[in-house]
């Protein structure tokens, strides 16, 4: 049975990380090359970890499913990265970034982890600048900042609307340097199929070469999963097409606890759904909310006229526009956190004030253009406007953007302790793949911060505390014992998938799962809806194993097989999300239960019953998983109802 020991260091919150580093075990330079570390994923967390561990002298193997580590989906993050530099002299500090993150996460994150995150945020900016990341600068040559939701200071660093790209390319450069030096061996177009556990410790992984179909095993003294989030369980999301939850799910089935799966972030500013063949949703950066004003028509008849094409947004006079965020949250206005903005949009649309197909509201730049001039708006958001126009054929300088919330980020993930180690010794999880820092809701520009924090500044320390005791573990033969057995299991699983030989494409089943998830496990959840959803997912899972059709063979490049393997896991993970949402009888952050809301429709937490991390342990096929609870103690900030008014 798993036990949750968060291993938070002793001492005052401000000293925990320093104390940890001062007393942890280290591996001496000559011994580092004798130790193998496997990193799965090459995004901000994985790429940064692989590069940093390679620099230290460990023998690193890094895996990604894309054709190059530079493609990881961190690249798509647009808006920015937070840090407590206080370059703007506007009252920022490490404590304030910590506090905003805890509050933004609706008091469901671990204080010690979040404080460490805020502490190293400044190192990240320095590191990236030194790597040549071209952050935006002011005329004086110093770094520029912008504001993001959930904060009253300007602490977000950015590189146009392509911050994720630039930070990832920075990490990719560092990684490339280590690949050139031979400390890191890169395995692109390779998918992790399972982990290998020997005598209770994670000792490696089994992979499938996506070009040849070959199944291989790799030994590592430690394994890091930096495989991103599981938002694609909803089919439509802002994730990349290949983003998947399989690595995390395989680890779960081998004994790693999965924490808070129901905490899923729905991003308020995405381009609305246009049709059944749509394959993904495109996000418009949250930074747009700095200058754009969000509104819906005040009168239902105006909304209807716009839906029918009889009126345009421009025909609605200001007095008939409902700037509902400014109305409901005067203090934060259009810059409330993402969960609050998303629910407010849904509330308007549910009451009949939506435009497009009823599932959209306006994000209007008319006022910013009047105030600042078109040039300034273009300089700030030009590339985003261009992208919007390419996709929708509408010009946002002339007509307001239409936006609607979409699945974006998963706060839940593999449970990890303070060292980012899972409940399986030797298995670590970093970035979006773990659950650790964002509680029930992530603030904008904090995902990049957490990924790089884990990869550059946390794991290179904490993993040594584990590896120091592994010096005498010899490299294992990957052709025998547990490695050979897991390889056989993986081959059997693939054969089972290939042998269904049904009639339905993988995508068609994935879309059905997406509909169930969105309807029953989406933005507004109820007990009955979730129970119904669980049943439907179970039935769909049966349907998948009876009807899925995978053309081609397993021992060659086979994209349908790759997708089927991931969707098979989503069909199980989806049920765990619903189960977690059902058990959590409260509303917090991205998890909104209709039964638990204030009179004003805000999320109502039940701190006396649910101020804990819910970590699920796998107990076998068709057996209910076991829930473990890690109580959250708030010693340095007071538990409060979030208030953005």
């Amino acid at each position: 049975m798993a036990t949750l020991d968060s291993r938070i260091p002793e001492g005052h919150l401000f000293e925990k990380w320093s104390n940890y580093k001062a007393h942890q075990k280290l591996v001496n330079p000559a011994n580092k090359r004798k130790l193998d570390v496997i990193v799965v994923g090459s995004g901000l967390a994985g790429g940064a970890a692989a590069a940093s561990l390679g620099e230290l002298g460990f023998n690193v193997k890094c895996f990604c499913y894309q054709d190059s580590p530079r493609r990881a989906h961190s690249i798509a993050a647009q808006g920015g990265i937070n840090a407590a530099k206080n370059y703007q002299n506007d009252g920022d500090s490490v404590y304030r970034l910590f506090y905003d993150t805890i509050k933004g996460g609706d008091y469901r994150a671990r204080e010690a982890n979040v404080y460490r995150l805020a502490e190293v945020s400044n190192n990240i900016i320095d590191q990236c600048v030194a790597q040549g990341v071209p952050f935006a600068r002011d005329y004086g040559g110093l770094l520029a900042n912008r504001s993001f939701g959930g904060a009253q200071v300007s602490r977000t660093f950015y590189a146009k609307g392509q911050t994720g790209q630039q930070l990832l390319l920075g990490a990719y450069s560092a990684l490339s340097r280590q690949i050139g030096k031979g400390t890191v061996t890169m395995y692109p177009r390779t998918e992790m199929m399972d982990i290998v556990v020997v005598d209770g410790k994670c000792r490696g992984i089994v992979t499938r070469n996506l070009i040849t179909g070959e199944i291989d095993a790799h030994f590592g003294h430690a394994v890091i999963l930096a495989t991103g989030g599981y938002g694609n369980v909803f089919f439509l999301s802002t994730n990349a097409m290949g983003s998947n939850g399989s690595a995390a799910w395989k680890a779960y089935k081998k004994g790693a606890c999965f924490a808070n799966p129901c905490y899923i972030q729905i991003h308020p500013t995405c381009i609305p759904v246009h049709g059944e063949f749509q394959s993904k949703l495109t996000l418009m950066s949250e930074s747009l909310r700095n200058d754009g004003r969000i509104w819906a028509p005040k009168k239902a008849e105006d909304a209807e006229a716009i839906r029918n094409g009889k009126k345009k947004a421009q025909d609605i006079p200001d007095e008939d526009r409902d700037f509902y965020l400014e109305r409901r949250y005067p203090a934060f206005g259009n810059l409330v956190p993402r969960d609050v903005a998303s629910r407010a949009a849904k509330e308007r649309c549910d009451h009949g004030f939506g435009v497009e197909n009823g599932g959209a509201v306006f994000l209007d730049f008319k006022y910013a253009i009047e105030r600042l001039g078109k040039d300034v708006v273009e300089a700030r958001y030009g590339n985003l406007f261009q992208m919007y126009e390419k996709i929708t054929n509408d010009n946002p300088y002339e007509t307001p953007m239409k936006i609607y919330p979409a699945i974006h980020y998963t706060m839940g993930g593999i449970w990890v302790d303070y060292e980012l180690q899972t409940t399986i010794p030797g298995l670590f999880a970093a970035g979006e793949a773990n659950f650790s820092d964002h509680g029930a809701n992530r603030l904008g520009a904090s995902a990049l911060m957490q990924g790089l924090s884990d990869g550059y500044f946390v794991l290179p320390y904490t993993i040594q505390n584990y590896l120091a005791d592994e010096l005498h573990t010899p490299r294992m033969d990957t052709n025998s014992g547990e490695f050979a057995k897991v390889k056989e299991d993986v081959k059997a699983h693939i054969e089972k998938l290939m042998n269904v030989k049904g009639t339905e494409s993988v995508d068609s089943i994935h879309k059905k799962l997406g509909h169930i998830m969105w309807e029953h496990v989406g933005m507004g959840r109820t007990k009955e809806g979730l129970q119904e959803g669980i049943k439907m997912i179970q039935e769909l899972r049966k349907e998948f194993w009876e009807k899925v059709r995978i053309p081609g063979n397993a021992n060659e490049l086979n994209v349908e097989l790759e997708k089927a393997n991931r969707v098979a896991d989503f069909l199980e993970l989806g049920e765990l999300i619903a189960r977690d949402a059902l058990h959590r009888e409260e509303s917090c952050g991205g998890h909104f239960r209709e039964e638990y809301q204030t009179e004003e429709g805000e999320a109502l937490r039940q701190d006396d019953k649910f101020a804990y991390v819910g970590a699920w342990e796998y107990k076998g096929e068709d057996v209910e998983p076991e829930l473990h609870k890690e109580e959250l103690k708030f010693e340095y900030c007071e538990l409060k109802q979030r208030n953005y008014k």
Partner: protein, 253 residues
């Protein structure tokens, strides 16, 4: 999004079983494609149709589908990433085509990028060029404060423009010589424009150019096709800067 009539199309797709196999065009008829779909969503519909007919779907690279990962490629009607300017194939929308059109879809064709299967090509040569010198040699930690070195806004902006390269390979696929100069020059420029990157600018330019030559990419003859087809509008002036950096480096030897 405006309501427009759906499209019926003829799609001629390059099929090739493996790197050493001979390829051929396969003609498919597609009906009812929404003009609001992206090009890759049209390819999804084609694949769904092929699977339902019991055939093998077309292999093509794609991932983020928002124009930034650089994974998607495709030579469409003779243009890298299709007929629209400054977009990747995933952001090319079907409203750029007319009902009844015949669309020809091919992989990148260049010595540096061998075909893996159908429309999928091997671009690992780019990673090798990057490993040869596409970085600033700093380890994690021990770096100065981010504001310690002021950088003129103009230089930072220019570095950013060069850094917006997504490594898709359209420049190589478009170039009649199969040259990777736009790709290499974008990285060399980005780092050479910043004081942090100046320190090893000479070494970087030489190492990246040497690796590019070694991997069989052709020479640049200044036709400008790469710039015209680059989905991110990376400027050919970067190639001039690379040439300058490279020459200066050689003179220093």
């Amino acid at each position: 999004m405006s309501e427009v009539q759906n499209l019926n199309l003829t799609v001629k797709v390059w099929r090739q079983k493996g790197p050493k196999e001979q390829g051929h065009f396969e003609t498919n008829e597609l009906k009812g494609i929404s003009p609001n779909s992206s090009f890759l969503e049209m390819m999804d519909v084609l694949n769904e149709q092929l699977i339902n007919e019991g055939k093998e779907p077309v292999a093509f690279d794609h991932d983020c589908r928002e124009g930034i990962c650089g994974m998607c490629s495709l030579y469409i009607n003779g243009h890298a990433h299709g007929p629209d300017d400054h977009v990747t194939t995933c952001q090319l929308h079907m409203r750029k085509f007319k009902d009844g059109d015949t669309i020809t879809v091919e992989p990148w064709r260049s010595a540096g990028f061998p075909v893996i299967k159908d429309l999928m090509v091997d671009r690992s040569a780019y990673d090798k060029i990057m490993a040869a010198g596409g970085f600033i040699s700093v380890n994690t930690g021990g770096v100065p404060d981010g504001n310690a070195i002021p950088i003129p806004k103009k230089d930072a902006d220019e570095a950013m423009d060069a850094a917006s390269c997504i490594g898709c390979g359209a420049c190589v696929a478009t170039c009649k010589n199969g040259s990777a100069m736009l790709f290499v020059s974008a990285k060399v420029s980005q780092l050479a424009l910043l004081p942090q990157g100046r320190v090893e600018a000479a070494r970087r330019a030489k190492a990246m150019v040497a690796k590019m030559d070694e991997l069989g990419f052709g020479n640049c003859t200044n036709t400008g096709a790469c710039e015209a087809e680059c989905p991110k509008g990376v400027s050919i002036s970067n190639i001039a800067r690379l040439n300058r950096e490279f020459l200066c480096a050689k003179f220093q030897d």
